[in-house]
């Protein structure tokens, strides 16, 4: 083992069953993600009971595959980490229960990980020389927040959505336009064929603090399509996406300037969006900031990021107790200044 930590991470907070083995905090030996997206597509969203059942069937095969690909034996691991919140309670419980059982069985420590902390560490995992303070734009189906990462485990909340998450807005617009599910990748694809300047959708709260609001934008899109039924879906997708990205990046840039951040880093499932990725990289060319755009598979839910967050949590807090349960409403532990 060369004295190097090897952590098995487990992630089951939503509709991906994932396991990964990470050594030394930044070397991914394996990362297995089994997506249930097809199971949920016909319902236009994640159905909690279907997700929980699927996780139950997939959890041991996915863990087994992650260990085999990593070439590691369970008892030789340094720790087993699992997401314990936030997320769907039934889904979370499957991963937490399996992780605790394995920890007991192999006699290794268990670490409960905050899913959002996992997303924050995804960028650092791929780019370990990123320096603090770092502005992380965490955008997913459930969350939209601007976080100043001051150091390991030290986060300040700069702004967050006051209504829908960015990913939720993508899903809802896609559903209204009858494009299917999940909305993010579909709108992303459609937008490449459309003109982002063809329709001027509002940029909610653009110059107003650091919070976000996407509910009004979603309503504006619906109202526009209702009164212009012949509009091209491509143009709507491109214009809607441009509005979302404008708001996200304007605020991220302003936050980076305010705190004197070294870099802006994307995180979360919406960070897989092409327009957001390109415009973030453009930002680095026109401003003094570094921009870090993790690979798409590191932005969407995965277990490598959970193991990475666990690596730092283990050093600061030590292991969790075996009576830890799931906490569907878990928040990030923010500092005030």
């Amino acid at each position: 083992m060369n004295g190097e930590t090897a952590i098995l991470g487990i992630e089951t907070s939503c509709d991906e069953t994932a396991a990964a083995v990470l050594t030394g905090g930044d070397t991914v030996l394996s990362s297995v993600v089994s997506s249930q997206v097809d199971l949920h597509a016909r319902y236009g969203g994640v159905v909690p009971e279907i997700a929980s059942r699927a996780h139950t069937g997939l959890i041991t095969p996915v863990i087994a595959q992650a260990l085999v690909e990593a070439g590691r034996r369970g008892p030789d691991l340094s720790a087993i980490a699992a997401t314990y919140g936030p997320g769907l309670v039934g889904s979370l419980l499957v991963g937490v229960s399996a992780a605790k059982a394995l920890a007991l069985t192999w006699g290794v420590p268990f670490i409960g990980v905050n899913h959002l902390e996992g997303h924050l560490y995804a960028g650092l995992l791929e780019e370990p020389d990123l320096e603090f303070p770092l502005i992380v734009l965490l955008v997913s189906g459930g969350h939209t927040m601007l976080v100043e990462m001051q150091g390991h485990g030290r986060y300040r909340l700069i702004g967050q959505t006051v209504d829908d998450a960015a990913g939720e807005a993508f899903d809802k617009v896609a559903r209204y336009l009858d494009l299917g599910y999940p909305g993010g990748p579909i709108i992303d694809e459609l937008a490449t064929q459309g003109d982002p300047t063809s329709i001027t959708f509002p940029r909610p709260m653009l110059n107003d603090g650091y919070d976000f609001s996407f509910s009004g934008l979603k309503t504006a899109v619906i109202t526009y399509v209702r009164s212009n039924p012949d509009v091209s879906a491509e143009d709507v997708a491109a214009s809607f996406q441009a509005a979302v990205v404008d708001v996200l990046l304007t605020k991220a840039q302003r936050a980076a300037e305010e705190v004197g951040a070294t870099a802006i880093c994307l995180a979360g499932g919406v960070a897989a969006n092409s327009e957001l990725r390109e415009r973030t990289l453009d930002l680095a060319l026109t401003t003094g900031f570094r921009a870090y755009v993790p690979s798409r598979s590191m932005c969407t839910d995965n277990a490598a990021m959970i193991a990475a967050a666990a690596h730092w949590r283990m050093q600061s807090d030590g292991p969790s107790k075996l009576d830890l349960g799931a906490n569907p409403g878990l928040r990030l532990p923010f500092v005030n200044a």
């Binding site: 319902y43 236009g44 969203g45 159905v47 009971e49 279907i50 929980s52 059942r53 996780h55 139950t56 069937g57 959890i59 041991t60 095969p61 863990i63 087994a64 369970g74 309670v89 039934g90 419980l93 499957v94 991963g95 937490v96 229960s97 399996a98 992780a99 605790k100 059982a101 394995l102 920890a103 007991l104 069985t105 192999w106 809802k172 559903r175 209204y176 979603k218 619906i222 075996l322 009576d323 830890l324 349960g325 799931a326």
Partner: protein, 231 residues
């Protein structure tokens, strides 16, 4: 051969360890913390009570339901991971067989009835055969009225057992040939699980962790909730 039995498909959480010598140790918590919090520490404690280490376990048995979904999955995930971690086989036993098991000495027809919430019951019928109980028909979901009608139709002496029988006691109490089993037998026990699994283990009726099939008996009620939600 030592069997670890994990039972968390109802309101209770249970864990037992046993083998040829019977049950060596068992714990159950009826009013403990929630299943996920209780189960792993309870396994650790039961191992200590039995004075064995976890790698002496050679089979993991689990209640596969029907029961309350959340508790059931906590039990399944825990049991499957334990079996996988130890590289040992598993035995799945359904919860209705478990609540009927302690009544195996009665000559009456046995109706196992587990509370399925939403005004329904998970049920199965059993009768005595040489060496144990035989299930009559398949486990099913039914309303208390359906159960009443089924019991009426048999026309024979019947013992009803399970937390479902207790919950709908008022509807069943008036029936002449029907008796409700004692409250102490209302929940599936981990000790029964180990005893039943031991008999199956002798016949080598093992499955691998990936082959354990949960018995939900109800489809996820998805369509209704999702098609009608607002944009």
């Amino acid at each position: 051969m030592l069997i670890l039995g994990i039972e968390s498909a109802t309101k209770q959480v249970g864990c037992a360890i046993g083998g040829h010598e019977g049950v060596l140790a068992s714990t159950h918590s009826a009013r403990g913390r929630r299943h996920a919090e209780s189960l792993t520490p309870q396994i650790e404690f039961t191992l200590g009570q039995a004075r064995i280490t976890i790698d002496e376990i050679s089979v993991v048995a689990v209640d596969v339901g029907p029961g309350l979904y959340t508790g059931l999955r906590v039990g399944l995930a825990t049991a499957m991971a334990t079996a996988f971690g130890l590289s040992v086989p598993m035995i799945g036993v359904n919860s209705l067989d478990l609540v009927a098991f302690p009544l195996r000495h009665t000559r009456r027809l046995i109706a196992a009835a587990i509370d399925a919430r939403r005004g329904e019951l998970f049920t199965a019928f059993y009768r005595q055969v040489p060496g144990g109980l035989q299930r009559v028909g398949e486990p099913a979901v039914m309303t208390p009225d359906d159960l009443y009608a089924n019991l009426q139709a048999t026309g024979t002496e019947c013992l009803v057992v399970g937390d479902g029988a207790l919950r709908y006691r008022d509807q069943l109490d008036g029936m002449t040939k029907v008796e409700i089993a004692d409250e102490s037998l209302a929940y599936p026990s981990a000790s029964s699980l180990v005893a039943l699994a031991h008999a199956r283990a002798l016949r080598e009726e093992f499955v691998q962790p990936g082959e354990i099939a949960p018995m939900y008996l109800r489809r996820p009620d998805a369509e209704a909730n999702w098609q009608s939600r607002p944009i």
